[in-house]
């Protein structure tokens, strides 16, 4: 494409199909005790 460059996999929908295992960290348990950010967490699914 000439006008648009996509820089990632845009795989959120795919992640839902295989997701929800709950192995990941609870989001407020790291450095972040007062303001939640979920997107900076890692997926910890065993069979990724």
């Amino acid at each position: 494409m000439k006008h648009i460059m996509t820089i990632n996999k845009a795989n959120l929908k795919e992640s839902a199909a295989k997701g929800g295992c709950g192995n990941c960290q609870a989001s407020c348990q790291s450095a972040c005790k007062t303001s939640c950010t979920v997107a900076n967490q890692k997926c910890e699914r065993d069979d990724k």
Partner: protein, 459 residues
């Protein structure tokens, strides 16, 4: 839904529901004001006419076709298909716990949400018996979750460190019986750190949060001792010692709070880096407007500008080989949490609970002391499962201002406690926090976009 913005010299378009991030030219950026589904086979003449004074007609038509092609690929204007997943995790196991090992503190931080450490319920230390019951509670209520997080919190947890050590030993002993793995973490103000405690923490804790606000004068102004002296000079060498001795595969952060007194908080972030720390989190204070240090709506433009300045400086640093992590700009555009995880924030009251020194159970540390949110007690074995179910429903589709927000899959509905305390309802997003979160997400995506382009990975 899309969100488009200009930052760091880039025209960025986020496709909210696929997570797609597109870097576009100015023509595309302008065209997206009008081009939206359903797409025609050819660019409608009124759209061409609107832009033809600025761009060649052929280019406009070509660009329209590219937009329509990405729509077909479902990475632009993609539909929100996730509401059906919101019912998941309603009956979630509890996998994380904030253990208030000490409701006492040796600092008198002016912005403390815990009423200088005792949460308004009297200064006390958690007895070992309650700590053991907390371990048992987590083991018994964690279902098939293998990794269990337990954060030693306060007040100041080092004021009850013997109990911390014994709770860890008890957890290590019992986790084997259940086939689980405790991830212990600790949040400390550092005042009581000794070589022995550093050794123990570095051995047993998978994450350590070290509280420090940045520059010495900023820190000492907000974080005095009980005797009203500065704490900076006491903690800094201890933190350096801890971090230097820590295994590289274990997490840690220095974590600060910024207030109206240091709206130039990027200086604090860089001061921490220059002092030798490369894992840094500095966050906005959240408190009632009545306090002189409170951040208010009027401060949002200045804070937004400061986040941009911080992002630019981080980028320059990176280019000079001086990389460090700023917690709220860390984002992985490909391997982050799944969409189901993103429907809820912290999981408080559902997957995550806080335990007081008396053994009372609350949805999280921020709710401690609010009687109507007491969920139960480890002493009498009570637990309010109805309240747990209510918290399970605090997902983005039940929060009116989140449902149509472009940042919903990044912040996931924000902090329920802040919503309750400042908006009166866990389902009403705390507006000020939203505005700051959105700015952070914009900066984080911009940084990733630039890095990705510089790595030459962009397609």
């Amino acid at each position: 839904m899309i969100h488009k913005y200009y930052l760091g010299g880039l025209y960025i378009v986020l496709d909210v529901n696929s997570g797609g991030v597109h870097i576009v030219d100015e023509l595309t950026y302008d065209l997206l004001d009008d081009a939206a589904p359903p797409f025609a086979e050819k660019c409608p003449q009124e759209i061409v006419d609107k832009l033809s004074a600025k761009y060649p007609e052929q280019e406009i038509r070509e660009c329209y076709d590219e937009i329509a092609a990405l729509y077909e690929e479902k990475i632009l204007f993609s539909p929100d298909d996730y509401e059906k997943y919101a019912k998941f995790t309603v009956a979630s196991p509890i996998k994380a716990m904030c253990l208030h090992i000490s409701h006492d503190c040796n600092l008198r931080c002016k912005y403390c949400f815990a009423s200088t450490g005792d949460f308004g319920t009297g200064r006390k230390l958690m007895p070992l018996e309650i700590g053991k019951k907390a371990i048992d509670f987590l083991l018994e209520n964690s279902g098939n979750r293998k990794n269990l997080e337990l954060d030693f919190f306060g007040g100041e947890p080092l004021m009850n460190f013997d109990v911390v050590k014994e709770v860890v030993a008890y957890g290590r002993e019992r986790e084997k019986e259940y086939g689980k793995n405790f991830r212990f973490t600790i949040t400390t103000n550092g005042m009581l750190l000794t070589d022995d405690k550093i050794d123990f923490i570095n051995k047993e804790m998978s994450n350590v949060v070290l509280s420090i606000d940045g520059r010495k004068d900023v820190h000492d102004n907000m974080r005095p001792t009980a005797g009203n002296k500065g704490s900076y000079d006491v903690i800094l060498p201890k933190y350096k010692k801890l971090v230097d001795a820590r295994d590289k595969d274990k997490d840690w952060y220095v974590r600060g709070t910024f207030t109206k007194y240091n709206l130039d908080f990027a200086e604090d972030v860089f001061d921490l880096y220059e002092k030798g720390f490369d894992q840094i989190s500095v966050e906005p204070v959240v408190c009632e407007d009545k306090y002189p240090y409170a951040l208010t709506e009027a401060d949002v433009p200045a804070i937004a500008e400061e986040y941009e300045r911080l992002a630019q400086r981080l980028l320059e640093n990176d280019r000079n080989g001086k990389h460090f992590n700023f917690f709220h700009f860390m984002i992985d555009l490909d391997q982050g949490p799944c969409a189901i995880k993103r429907l809820r924030g912290c999981g408080c009251g559902n997957e995550y609970v806080a335990i007081t020194p008396d053994g009372d159970i609350y949805p999280c540390h921020q709710f401690v002391g609010i009687e109507e949110y007491k969920m139960g007690s480890l002493v009498d074995g009570s637990f309010n499962t109805e309240m747990k179910e209510q918290f399970a429903k605090t997902h983005i589709y039940n929060k009116p201002s989140c449902r149509d927000c472009w940042a919903k899959f990044y912040c996931s509905g924000g902090c329920n406690a802040n919503n309750y305390m400042y908006m009166g309802d866990v389902l009403k997003a705390h507006t000020l926090s939203c505005e700051l979160e959105k700015k952070r997400v914009e900066c984080a995506i911009m940084l990733q976009a630039i890095k990705s382009m510089e790595r030459g990975q962009a397609e």
